[in-house]
Symmetry: C2
DNA sequence: CTTGACACAGAACAGACGTTCGAGTATCAT
DNA sequence: ATGATACTCGAACGTCTGTTCTGTGTCAAG
């Protein structure tokens, strides 16, 4: 009767979760109840337990009782705070092919907790400096239509959502008039856009500024797994 | 006069280190002394401490005394046991360019503990199934000579050491007669080797079996970071 | 045979740690 | 005012956990 039913998370709960996350990342082990209390400014161990009980009931932590430091954050906390991990799970939204429209990130959907979607795990250190990794998504290349972007069938393209780009950035664009998706280096010129293939031996496409061109995202990384040998 | 025997690591030490590693990976926290003793078949906590003290003196673990479960494996243990991590540190041995010989993995050198070399961190889940990651190394592509392998200047190529290959595998080969390093799909035919570019629009190279051809490794993965925009 | 380093066991102890309980305060709807 | 709810405190308790101490058996050197 002393535990709230379904009220929301308070500032204190978040403080506790953040400290749990921080301590674990820093020390490689969970903190003790007294260590939590000290950091979250709770002077009684019973109050810390009080909050831990609530957090456990809410599904944000799991506990192995009777064992010291037996606390563990669950997947669910990522909905509340940014969990520091070395690995970043990036959802694979779908295929990218020349003739089909690009899958897009729908706001408000948490792909990481949705086990339906596949994902690639990328080391944070592999990402461009200080790229937080927020909202990154990945596409799997289907077909040979991206060869001029130096991208093969089966490659994984990691994207950052964007609707505009600066010169020299590689973007995924949808060309409504051609009904075509493509990956190109983007350059804005006088009265046109130049879409430059990555392959230096190939020629650019020019799109007049009056013509439609939808930038869907910037390419952050391309990953090619040589899993199975080439046939033929 | 009192030089005792080996003085090195014993089977028990390794058992302890392995359990430390296993428990940490499984529970996200270090084990207690009694948990160690139970698993390593030591019936007294004092003996566990006895070994922990030795391991600490040898530099394989660090301890935060007075605090429960205050044990942590150090970098050095990777010389002794295979530390299970989600991340794999793969050393970048050097550049790969058409005109220069390929850097090679020197046996007996632990590149991971040698801070001199750069490294890329790859999530284990990203590697081909059950690729242990042993002896993997990486090369950084310099120049545009690998464009026919769909590989750009600046790309990171993750390699597995190999001196021969099966049909359809992409290999790094050194062609002594041409004084050239290249990445191609490898096919053995009647009396020749066919080196097939990844780019389907390009033609293969044929090498007679009588001519020299040194396979240096198989390509496991290619990573392209789109860090900076393309100039021009 | 004696000595001493080494590997190990068991008991005991002190402090760390999680849990329980009694009690107090503040807010809010009744 | 009343009571229910949410939150906090402090003390006490028992277990967990790391440390210390005493003792035993082995083995090689002196």
């Amino acid at each position: 009767m002393m535990v709230r039913k379904s009220k929301g998370i308070t500032e204190k709960h978040i403080k506790v979760l953040e400290f749990l996350n921080e301590y674990q990342a820093q020390h490689g082990r969970p903190p003790s109840i007294r260590e939590i209390g000290e950091k979250v400014k709770i002077s009684s161990t019973s109050v810390v337990k009080y909050y831990l009980d609530q957090l456990e009931r809410m599904g944000y932590i799991e506990r192995n009782n009777r064992i010291s430091r037996g606390v563990r954050l669950t997947e669910k906390v990522s909905e509340i705070i940014e969990v520091t991990t070395d690995l970043l799970r990036i959802p694979i939204l779908g295929p990218i092919a020349a003739g089909s429209p690009l899958p897009e990130l729908e706001p408000g959907v948490n792909y990481l907790t949705d086990n339906q979607v596949e994902a690639v795990e990328i080391a944070r250190s592999l990402l461009p400096a200080r790229e937080k990794g927020e909202n990154l998504y990945a596409l799997e290349v289907k077909g040979d239509s991206m060869v001029d972007a130096m991208i093969n069938d089966g490659d994984i393209v990691v994207m950052k959502p964007a609707s505009e780009a600066r010169n020299g950035e590689m973007v995924a664009v949808w060309l409504p008039q051609n009904n075509e998706a493509t990956l190109k280096y983007f350059f804005k010129e006088k009265d046109r856009y130049r879409l430059q293939p990555a392959n230096p031996t190939m020629k650019p496409i020019y799109i007049k500024k009056t013509e439609p061109l939808e930038i869907k995202g910037k390419v952050v990384m391309v990953i090619r797994k040589m899993e199975k040998p080439l046939a033929a």
